[in-house]
Amino acid sequence: MNPLIYDFRRTFLRFSVLFFLAIFILAGIGIVYSSYSSIAKNITQKTNMIAGIWEENGTNIIGYIFNNQGDGVSGKVEVLVNGSLIGSTSTQTGYFRLKFPLNGSELSKDLEKGIKVVASTSLGYVEVPFQVQYIQIGAVQPSNQFISIVHENISVNYFNSYLGYFGYAPNNEAFSLVDGKLIFLYLGNSGEVNYSVYYGYSNLSEVSVFPVSQTSATISKTLMFAGTGEGISIFHVKMSKTNGFFTVKLVLPKSNETSIISSRYSALIPLEVDVMSSFPSGVSLFATLFPIIFLYLVYSMISKPLGSGAMEFLLARPITRDSIYINRFIAGTLTAILSSGILTLSIGLTISLLYGISPPFNFYGLIFLGITGDIMGFFSLYTLLAILIKKTSGYLGLSIVFYLIFTIFWGTLALLLSGGMFNLSAIERNEYLLDYFNPGGSLSFSEYYILRAIGEVNSISVVNPAFVVVSSLLWIIVPSIIGLIRFRRMNLI
């Protein structure tokens, strides 16, 4: 039998390795499941609403109540001024229009106090507050509860309008972006019925000009309100997978005016952020504890044979010291790769199955590399320790100390270096700096890159991809090479 295969079999197919791998997979699935069940409560459909208000022979309000896919839902709508009901209606399609006798100056006063449009449906309850200081067309930002949509709702936070109702500068359009649909509300001039809408994605700041590439939106359905030009249209739009700005350009053919509104959005909705952050947290138990299994593997593959003298008998076979060392190192490496691959896949697939959202391929890659690097860093260090300290008990003692230092003490060290608990950004920075000097650093860097991709952390200057790769590789290569050089000439007895 090929000794390499034998060594591999004796490392990977070891009861302890398989047992703990199974335990860690189950624990990881448990962690994913528990975050799933806490999120699951929130992934039921919610009521969302976009609404606008203006004065024209009294006060007019139009709006659209819709679910997370942008489809209209039936419900009841009430308008409250200062807490007291001043009008109500109900809708089957989701569209609604309300009119009540308040003239401009009264409306203006009420807007100062605050007018609230409240919709209740079987899915729940939502309100759009109008406040004169801010907007007169409200687009609701449904809070964080979308599933199976790609984008967060976009709120209006830029306006470009010449309208000056009530002495304030109100918006005359608003939009909401859900599940490939742009829900666009326009309170136009009468006669401007056939407006066109363009949209585009960009990384530019929100006040910049229209993004470089723009696409004409294709209309799917429109509700126009008789004769006035104001109404709500739903357009199909292509979703972008990268974070940035979504900009909508409105072109009014009659008056030949254009208006641009734009909003920041993130490619992942908040729910997906939670889902994706459960990926690193699902594997973290494994990643922190698996180096202990490798401590044991190095004990049985190197330290014990060395300490007991069995290595000598092995070396009396037609094999060089280099080959023994390299065979066993490769066997450990394969075990590390297989274990972290199996774990990464099983946690990723659990996420896909539970949430119906598949982690992107690069998340799989990052997590797999992070864990493999972490295990390999420790494996390499343990190998060196086993060679340097021939005595088995000495190896065990020292490697446990090193494990504790790098897993527990390192965080404390970051605190100490940052002068206490209060300077959070310094702590974060020092933690990442220290990770370069930790055999398990690659794990925390891979988590960092995932959290950054989903917008959970801001970029930190000390984390540099080249340094991350180099330091992780050095942690694997340097101790194992020193170990090999030492092993070449050492006295085995």
Binding site: M1, P3, S308, G309, A310, E312, P318, I319, R489, N491
Partner: protein, 300 residues
């Protein structure tokens, strides 16, 4: 053939093996004799290529133990003084694993194991963990593994130590058989008499140095046995008569002839010719060990 040339090994400041040179020729059994701690095992480890010398060269069938380690291992069988294996391995599995290093496939290794375990008296113990093996079984297992490549050179380190009489006989017969097959055999021991009947040559090592190399005949010539006899009546005539065989003295009713250089049959004939009754006659057997200590003593 094993050739050791000016080999030195330090452990820290301590010199365990000091400028050692000797040769084990094919078809020859060389006894490697020294007190405990003399440096025998250290030398043997270096021959086996598992310990690296500070100075000097060792060649096994013309292969250098350092630069051609793999060739050396293929051509050298080694039964260590106290063989140590991976404790929790089963004999059979470990054999198959080790055979892999000789490029033997699993199936061939299993066939080989069955045959060797049978021949070496390990049949029935294949599935046992090596940790449960006795010293003798461990030595046989080492031998089985060594025989995988049917090497032309063998080293037995204190192989008779801790064995029962059958075990000792087994390894003696084996060494003779190997010699007849033209293999070079190095047998270490701290008891010279153990090697008396089988070694062709003795290499004495003391405090890491080779202090003497002698053929077995030379060793025997070095031996000066004493003859001890008891007769019914001691006469001056008899004493005179026996003087021609060595130095005669009386002790506790016995006549002792030191440096006895005759043969016992002649002596008994002479005694009956003098009309004396011979009650007892023996040749002292500690003389080989005396040679050993004499060789060491010469060195001081």
């Amino acid at each position: 053939m094993i050739v050791i040339e000016n080999v030195t090994k330090h452990f820290g400041d301590f010199i365990a093996v000091n400028d050692v040179s000797f040769t084990v020729n094919n078809g020859e059994i060389v006894g490697f004799v020294g007190l405990n701690g003399a440096g025998k095992t250290t030398t043997i480890r270096m021959i086996a290529g598992v310990l690296i010398q500070d100075n000097g060269r060792i060649k096994v069938d013309d292969h250098d133990t350092i630069s051609e380690k793999k060739e050396v291992s293929k051509n050298l069988g080694w039964v260590p003084e106290l063989p140590i294996f991976e404790q929790d391995a089963k004999a059979w599995d470990y054999f198959v694993y080790l055979a892999g290093f000789y490029g033997i496939s699993s199936n061939d290794a299993k066939r080989m194991a069955r045959q060797l375990f049978d021949e070496l008296g390990l049949a029935g113990f294949e599935k046992r963990k090596l940790a449960t093996y006795s010293q003798g079984m461990k030595k046989r297992f080492s031998l089985a593994v060594s025989l995988i490549s049917n090497p032309g050179n063998f080293i037995f380190d204190e192989v008779f130590n801790g064995l029962d009489p059958q075990g000792i006989q087994f390894f003696r017969d084996l060494a003779s058989k190997f010699r007849n097959e033209g293999k070079a055999i190095l047998l270490s021991s701290h008891i010279l008499s153990e090697l008396e009947s089988i070694a062709d040559k003795i290499v004495f090592i003391h405090k890491g140095r080779i202090i003497k190399q002698m053929s077995m005949d030379e060793v025997r010539r070095y031996v000066s046995p004493s003859l001890k006899i008891k007769v019914d009546r001691v006469s001056v005539e008899l004493i005179d008569y026996l003087s021609k065989y060595g130095k005669v003295r009386e002790e506790g009713g016995y006549i002792i002839i030191d440096n006895f250089n005759g043969n016992t049959a002649d002596v008994s004939k002479e005694i009956s010719a003098l009309n004396l009754n011979l009650y007892e006659m023996s040749v002292s057997s500690s003389s080989l060990e005396e040679v050993f200590f004499k060789v060491i003593g010469d060195q001081k």
